[in-house]
């Protein structure tokens, strides 16, 4: 077998550059501590490693539990083809969240402490347990793919037997975990800007996680259809777009009610950075909500994809606002992430994309659609030399 040097493409160069900067930032983090690798301070103890790597990472993994609930618990079979990619995303998402935590914790060697030293009054304790248990559940939910690949029938049968309780547990743990990331910020009423601080943060985190879970599933299907030359499951994604429109509307409506009950609309008249960031975040959720109600938008893959991307960005804006920018004024300081913080975050994202791509290529992830198209691809490649010859 000839080992070919991988072809140099723009994306591969960018990928390599990101990983190289990430490696150097990792060196800084290990050798010079958090002070040498971040712009965190006593007044601003959490940065983008928490607000992006953890809070967005967990949210973007929400497709896993949303689709498991839809397919297996609500028994909406038609979504089955996109279930596996969603579970894979969730599993990778959670694994990368743990990687992010290893960077962010002052003592990553003590990551296991909350499992042994309990404080049930702490939201962080709940978060730690949810991450641990749900990562395990996701691993078990993903295992059938590995067993199928290697034709291990006995363990496959065994894991199918526990699959129902496993799925229910997974959905529950996700519900708790998604909402608990919002609960984390209930303790900072005097620091978090009133456009974001609300006692119902846990509920808002949960509903927006469902929305972004659906958006990520559309996002992935679109990308994988292009990367692997599969047919896009358009009717399926169109109906998912419908669900997404409704979930977004519910989310926006809850936020509207919450803000009117707390009488904070007046804050929107202030020309402050928070106002603009808030409006950006809402627009990125409201525009796709309106668009997705229209059949002609849902029918066009490009438009559907654009809507999904907007939701993903709106979601990230929300988490970053709550985790960083919304806390600046109340903490009496400014925070702009250092290059090394950004480098490590980008590296984690890049590794996530690459791993997804690799697993999707070698394992039966896009099951239903893949086999015929995969076969066709093989025929084509086999036919090619003949044609050339």
């Amino acid at each position: 077998m000839i080992h070919k040097f991988p072809k140099i493409t723009v994306w591969r160069v960018i990928f390599a550059a990101i990983l190289a900067s990430g490696a150097y930032a990792t060196y800084l983090r290990i050798m010079y501590g958090l002070g040498g690798s971040t712009n965190l301070s006593d007044k601003f103890p959490w940065g983008i490693w928490i607000a992006f790597d953890v809070m967005c990472g967990v949210g973007l993994a929400a497709g896993g539990f949303t689709l498991v609930a839809m397919v297996h618990i609500f028994n909406i079979e038609k979504y089955h083809p996109v279930l596996r990619p969603a579970i894979l995303t969730a599993f990778l998402g959670y694994s990368l969240v743990v990687v992010g935590l290893l960077y962010d914790l002052g003592r990553p060697d003590r990551l296991w402490h909350p499992l042994v030293m309990w404080n049930p009054h702490s939201v962080m304790f709940e978060v730690a347990w949810c991450v641990t248990l749900y990562s395990t559940v996701l691993f078990l939910e993903f295992l059938p793919v590995v067993f199928e690949k290697f034709g291990m029938h006995k363990p496959l049968a065994w894991i199918h037997r526990i699959s129902v309780p496993l799925m229910i547990l997974g959905v529950l743990l996700s519900t708790l975990h998604q909402s608990s990331l919002g609960t984390l910020f209930l303790i900072v009423p005097e620091k978090l800007y009133p456009l974001w601080y609300t006692p119902i943060l846990p509920l808002l985190f949960f509903v927006s996680a469902i929305a972004v879970g659906l958006a990520m599933t559309i996002f992935e299907s679109w990308h994988s259809s292009r990367a692997f030359g599969r047919a896009l499951e358009l009717p399926l994604l169109m109906s998912m777009g419908r669900v997404l429109a409704v979930v977004l509307s519910v989310y926006l409506w809850i936020r509207f009610l919450d803000m009117s009950h707390r009488h904070v609309f007046g804050l929107l008249a202030q020309n402050r950075i928070e106002t603009w960031l808030f409006l950006l975040e809402i627009a990125l959720m409201a525009v796709p909500a309106v668009l997705l109600y229209q059949a002609r938008i849902r029918q066009r893959p490009g438009a559907l994809y654009t809507c999904a991307v907007m939701v993903v960005f709106g979601f990230m804006a929300n988490r970053l606002n709550i985790g960083t920018t919304g806390l600046e004024a109340g903490s009496g300081t400014h925070y702009i992430p250092r290059w090394s913080e950004v480098a490590i975050t980008l590296s984690i994202v890049a590794v996530g994309f690459a791993t997804f791509h690799t697993i999707a290529r070698y394992f039966p992830i896009f099951e239903a659609e893949e086999h015929p198209s995969h076969g066709r691809e093989m025929e084509e490649t086999e036919a090619d030399p003949v044609a050339a010859g």
């Binding site: 006593d42 103890p45 003590r110 702490s122 519900t175």
Partner: protein, 251 residues
């Protein structure tokens, strides 16, 4: 029973003797450069700052219901019966939630260490246990910082503002803030003018998260029944459909 500290800003002369005594007690370096730093940090657990004509001292408030202890996932922070909020560095994993949660922004971090710890004043916990005064109260030459029983110090503070209504802003900071603290402040001017937060409210911070956390067992148990039930209903439907389909085929 519980101990507390009373800091009277009107008596403070800004000599920073408390800073030196505190550094000595913690075994931290103290020199002119460090003395000039106005804020608390991992190497300076109390700091005297100047606000115009007034002095103000920062130290851990050792809250009656501390946010830091409630949010610590590993229970490294504990409220002791004697008053101090203590920290066990061997448990701490460095999540820094205590720093985020503290309404007074007291916990500080050894940012440049490879094996960092959180740092904060613990009201000289071991000295209090031994029946001694805090290092800062013991050294204060003018009695601006005094250490004693919480209830008695509260009465003393109220007595001072009642006796000299023109010299004191007519409130004691720390009696009701976030459910009460173990450090009381007296001042000639409103407290926000000596760098204290006055928008904290009187509810203890831990309640804000506990209100949600205490629902977790209910959510889990209800969720199991609900999701299990939905699964049973929806999949029963397919079973029935399958069985009927088989029957029809049989005919």
């Amino acid at each position: 029973m519980a101990r507390a500290i009373l800091y009277d800003s009107t008596l403070c002369i800004g000599c920073k003797a408390c800073e030196g005594a505190c550094a000595e007690r913690w075994g931290l370096p103290y020199n002119e450069t460090i003395a000039a730093e106005p804020q608390i940090s991992a190497h300076k657990l109390t700091a005297v700052d100047t606000f115009g004509d007034h002095f103000s001292r920062r130290l851990c408030m050792n809250c009656v219901q501390p946010a830091c202890a409630s949010v610590c996932p590993v229970g490294a922070l504990q409220k002791t019966a004697l008053g101090p909020v203590t920290y066990d560095a061997d448990k701490c994993m460095g999540c820094r939630y205590c720093m985020q949660a503290c309404p007074f922004q007291v916990p500080t971090y050894e940012w440049n260490s490879r094996l960092p710890k959180m740092r904060k004043c613990n009201m000289c916990s071991e000295r209090q246990i031994a029946g001694k005064l805090t290092a800062c109260a013991e050294i204060c030459p003018v009695g601006a910082t005094i250490n004693g029983d919480r209830d008695e110090l509260m009465k003393e503070a109220q007595r001072r503002i009642a006796e000299k209504p023109t010299e004191y802003y007519q409130r004691v900071y720390g009696i009701s803030e976030v459910g009460g603290t173990s450090v009381f402040y007296l001042s000639a001017v409103p407290f926000e003018k000596i760098g204290l937060r006055t928008n904290l409210g009187e509810d203890p911070m831990p309640e804000k998260t506990w209100r949600v956390l205490e629902l977790v067992p209910d959510i889990v148990s209800t969720g199991v029944v609900l999701l299990g039930g939905i699964y049973w209903i929806t999949n029963r439907r397919t079973e029935v459909a399958r069985a009927e389909g088989a029957k029809k085929e049989g005919r």
